[in-house]
């Protein structure tokens, strides 16, 4: 098993005919991802890499049974695309582009809740369930099927964690890029709970960073979970008052500093990995052995 995407997913690429859409469609297909359709309003009837392109998500679902969507469109078109997909019945929407207006993402989240659909991102590298599906822009090289679930706000951190888990033989069930934008479609607690329910996942690594409130909000979920949660927080040495990196990484009041996040997560029973190499050490301490290789 994996969470959110697997071999059975029937994937739709919104914005398939654009440069990024075409490039990553090719990459995702090469990985064996089950892409069944694309959309591009006005370009219905075209074909990209032998995959049919439709004018609307409705048509795409009717013809191909798509149930999952990944969006490769400029930020200003994302709200329309995501809500179109959710109205049409898509259950998982992954928003790759960054800089989605905050009001747009709040509206998308609201509609998604009403329709019981899940939105991941924006500014996410996507989701990969190694050996099954690669949805987005992650470099498959770093990932290997295994037993640890990961969720991260930063793309590069996701790759380093996977690299560490792969090299030490643990491998990953699913790696979720939560996204680096200030307001996100899903939060740590949404995704942690999916991992808690997944049979194959034995432990979870969550990676956050300074700024925002999502790490702190995961506290209750972590307390309810039986599986061990290991976390990393970037920015412990970041000078206060300076803006580093992601738009979301701006310190807000008392929540949002790296220290406050470490404190809250440790109090919930999660384990702090200061470097990537701490992750396999903590897994061992928790009695979790590498997967058979």
């Amino acid at each position: 098993m994996a969470i959110l995407v697997d071999k059975e997913s029937r994937i739709l690429v919104q914005g398939m005919t654009g440069t990024a859409g075409q490039f990553h469609t090719r990459r995702m297909l090469a990985y064996g991802t089950s892409i069944v359709a694309g959309t591009s309003p006005g370009k219905g009837g075209e074909v990209v890499e032998d995959i049919p392109v439709f004018d609307t998500v409705d048509f795409a679902i009717e013809e191909t049974g798509a149930d999952t969507s990944v969006i490769f469109l400029p930020a200003r078109f994302v709200k329309e695309a995501a809500i179109e997909a959710i109205y049409a019945g898509i259950k998982l929407v992954v928003v790759i582009p960054e800089h989605i207006p905050i009001f747009d993402m709040m509206e998308i989240r609201k509609v998604a809740r009403e329709y019981r659909s899940t939105v991941i991102g924006g500014n996410t590298p996507g989701i990969i369930s190694p050996g099954q599906a690669n949805l987005g822009i992650m470099p498959e090289l770093a990932f290997k099927r295994g037993k640890v679930g990961t969720v991260s706000r930063s793309g590069s951190i996701t790759y380093y964690v996977a690299d560490t888990l792969t090299r030490t033989g643990y491998g990953e069930t699913t790696c979720v890029g939560m996204g680096g934008d200030p307001v996100l479609g899903s939060t740590f607690d949404d995704i942690l709970w999916e991992f808690e329910k997944d049979d194959e996942t034995e432990a979870i690594v969550m990676c956050g960073e300074i700024g925002g409130v999502y790490e702190e909000l995961a506290k209750d979920t972590i307390q309810r979970m039986k599986k061990p949660v290991i976390f990393m927080i970037g920015g412990l040495y970041a000078p206060p008052g300076k803006r580093m990196g992601h738009a979301g990484a701006i310190v807000e009041g008392s929540m949002g500093t790296a220290k406050s996040k470490v404190k809250v997560l440790e109090s919930a029973g999660a384990h702090h990995a200061k470097t990537f190499l701490d992750i396999p050490k903590i897994l061992k301490e928790q009695g979790i052995e590498p997967a058979e290789s």
């Binding site: 800089h99 207006p101 590298p125």
Partner: protein, 396 residues
């Protein structure tokens, strides 16, 4: 993106929020004249993109035009929280009976728009709310929800506002909410909202922060002269240079030049260097899919910095490609040359091609690579950070 007070007041006026009518000045002489025109006294308020300017000495009362001229000279020569003072807004002195607080913001945790009101204004509302939770009233709205007059009226009632002014107050609350919604704000705040001795309500200050990512749908702001701006205080020359090349960059205190890839590892890489006993000289973010030219420019910034003793490089190619990364590094080595020891690691998207390019460039010109230690996926990134710390120590 923060707006200056005078800009925020312009937006408030569009929604019929009464604001104190000030005069925007750029020289001490203008300030003196403005105070004369106001009848010989006024409130001098520096226009900087930072909160807490009152405490930092950026708001001064002038009792006479001469007084005003002198205060203005001092203010124009000063910096407030790192921001040089370029403009002063001269407001009429108001006879204050009471100060209130009104704000609209986003609750990211609950995905709601929140209206906040308090019968106590002119204070740091976060601090005040912690100590006096019952004196701060909040009302949450869905993002697609309109505010009706009766709801604004109800917020006024909860704030225990005096009954004869409730209608006036609710029109201000409504105006503030609509300003917030109209311009994709992250914050719209009146602090304080002043009730004068004559019973008028006036927004004495105005604070607006707009979502940069939504600016594309507000061309009218650019027409008003409100454009995307740098929000930090004074920049160092290197930060300015980086900014001219659109590279997110900050100078820090240490001696290890950080060339780390994306923002996430940009932050984490700095932590690693600290764990291993080193200190980064900078924070930097290459952005997604940087061009070779941009990467070369980033390295020039580090190599030209005399504070830098060693350079730490990392690239995990996701959407970005390792061959572009290699191209950028080689371009830098050829065109600029490396004067500091550099240790770097590269893996991910197109890494084989990147390695091949490095090897052939090295064969062609081994001298260029003398100070470069190059690693691939076989070496954990922690080892690279440790090595950079060691190189910086040896170079001292």
């Amino acid at each position: 993106m923060r707006l200056f007070e005078y800009e925020a007041k312009q937006l408030f006026k569009k929604f019929n929020i009464p604001v104190s009518e000030g005069v925007l000045c750029t020289t001490p002489a203008e300030v003196r004249n403005a105070v004369t025109d106001l009848g010989g006294s006024g409130m001098l308020k520096v226009q900087v993109l930072s909160g807490g300017r009152g405490k930092a000495g950026g708001i001064k009362k002038a009792e006479s035009p001469e007084d005003a001229g002198q205060i203005a000279e001092e203010l124009f020569d000063s910096t407030i929280k790192g921001y040089p003072v370029e403009r002063i807004l001269v407001d009429p002195l108001l006879e204050v009976r009471r100060e209130y607080y009104l704000g609209v913001t986003i609750d990211r945790a609950r995905y709601k728009v929140v209206v906040i009101g308090s019968p106590t204004g002119g204070v740091d509302i976060e601090e005040f709310a912690k100590k006096n939770p019952r004196k701060v009233f909040r009302q949450a709205f869905d993002i697609d929800e309109l505010m009706y007059s009766f709801q604004a009226f109800d917020i006024g009632l909860q704030m225990k506002f005096r009954k004869d002014k409730l209608k006036l107050l609710s029109s201000i609350i409504l105006g503030l909410y609509n300003t917030f919604k109209k311009y994709d704000c992250k914050l719209a705040e009146i602090n304080p909202l002043i009730e004068t001795e004559t019973g008028d309500l006036v927004a004495a200050d105005a604070r607006i922060s707009i979502d940069d990512d939504a600016l594309f749908r507000h061309p009218e702001l650019a027409e008003m002269g409100i454009e995307k701006r740098h929000e930090e205080g004074e920049m160092t020359p290197r930060e300015q240079q980086a900014r001219d090349d659109s590279i997110p960059y900050l100078d820090l205190e240490g001696n290890i030049g950080m060339f780390p890839g994306g923002a996430g590892f940009g932050i984490m890489g700095n932590d690693f260097v600290n764990y291993y006993g080193g200190e980064p000289a900078n924070f930097m973010d290459s952005g997604g899919g940087p061009s070779p030219e941009r990467l070369a420019k980033m390295l020039v910034l580090l190599d030209d910095n005399p504070q830098v003793k060693a350079i730490f490089g990392a690239r995990f190619g996701g959407i970005s490609r390792c061959d572009d990364f290699a191209k950028g590094v080689i371009m830098f080595l050829k065109d600029h040359g490396l004067s500091k020891p550099m240790v770097m690691r590269m893996t991910g998207n197109q890494w084989e091609e990147g390695v091949r390019m490095f090897e052939s460039a090295r064969k062609e010109n081994p001298d260029l690579f003398k100070k470069v230690e190059f690693h691939g996926i076989e070496t954990p990134i922690e080892e690279i950070a440790k090595r950079a710390v060691q190189l910086a120590k040896e170079a001292k």
